[in-house]
Subunit: 175 residues, 2 copies
DNA sequence: CGCAATATCTCGATGGTCGAGATTATTGAC
DNA sequence: GTCAATAATCTCGACCATCGAGATATTGCG
């Protein structure tokens, strides 16, 4: 694996992008009195809403990799900030549904909107075949990372298992 | 900006990749008794070493966006774990050089090595023109994020300025 | 020398995260 | 129906990463 390997250079470049995006999120967090975890939670909640998935504390915790105690505190913060609302699930009353309030959408868009806009605009300079290439690249990188994470979680039981993950991920249950 | 906009889909996909990579790093952290910040620091330190840059606490703190107090504690942790060594700069004795110990390289490679390997291997399925397309994409995304971050830092003085960033970034000073 | 700028570190306070366990609701067996 | 097992969320106490403010040491300028 030569240091001049173009593939390796691209992997490093991908990491540089993630570093930039993390710093961008941290900037957003610090500016609004949120913590990095809150921002990550907000992103997942907005994603869930966009895809019509039901968000619950347990689901959110598993997405973020934090345990139930931290998730409760996290939702408390988001609720106190007026970004989400707790709502008992009428079907399964053990559950709590996390309803994203309009304030959260406004806040998220005010910060990430311009960034996303610029990125989408930049993508217009890519023709269809190039877009397909980028998509293939991103899908491959995402899947490799996800697969290795699942692999390491199983095989690497030497150290502690980190958190109490239900492991269960509920998909869209018909709204 | 339609929800079916292929550019927008790719931006979301890019975010999905960063989420996976962050979770991967968190997994690594939890398994080795490190904190997410420690992992980020380790990555920057290994990068600096690879590029023959001099790492100091101040430089590291500015890279991570944390203040000097946190940086001191961070370096204390890394030193206690035997990953780095503090060494007074003989030229400017206010400075401390952070020397990455072999243990850090071994540790980092043991975890990120296989992931990087798989990614690099996957990149072999891209021909030269496709690699160039991916590179153009990643460079554009990185630069947009960096530019917006700089832009927001200046204009958005409404809230607090977060940390005491020297703003100074020392490049390779001839080793 | 005095003085400002720079680099790092110290201190006390805040609060996010964790493990363990409590609480409430659901499910299935008898 | 009752009981135990499971599940989803929350409470509690402890730990420690991060922060702001300020201390300490060094450099460079005049």
């Amino acid at each position: 694996m030569d240091d001049q390997d173009p593939g390796l250079q691209l992997v490093h470049l991908l990491r540089a992008v993630t570093v930039e995006l993390d710093l961008f999120a941290a900037e957003f967090a610090g500016r609004n009195g949120l913590h990095p975890t809150d921002v990550r939670a907000l992103i997942h909640l907005l994603d869930a809403r966009r895809e019509n998935l039901r968000a619950t504390p347990g689901w959110l915790g598993s997405q973020l990799g934090v345990n139930s105690a931290s998730t409760t505190a996290l939702v408390d913060r988001l609720e106190r900030l007026g970004l989400v609302r707790r709502e008992r699930d009428t079907g399964d009353r053990r559950r709590v549904l996390l309803v994203v309030r309009d304030e959260a959408i406004t806040l998220g868009w005010s910060f990430f909107g311009p960034l996303i806009d610029e990125m989408v605009t930049e993508m217009r300079s890519f023709d269809e075949r190039e877009l397909a290439t980028v998509r293939r690249f991103l899908l491959a990188m995402r899947d490799i990372a996800a697969a290795r994470r699942a692999h390491d979680r199983d095989s690497g039981g030497s150290a502690r298992q980190k958190a109490d993950q239900p492991g269960e991920r509920q998909e869209d249950q018909g709204n």
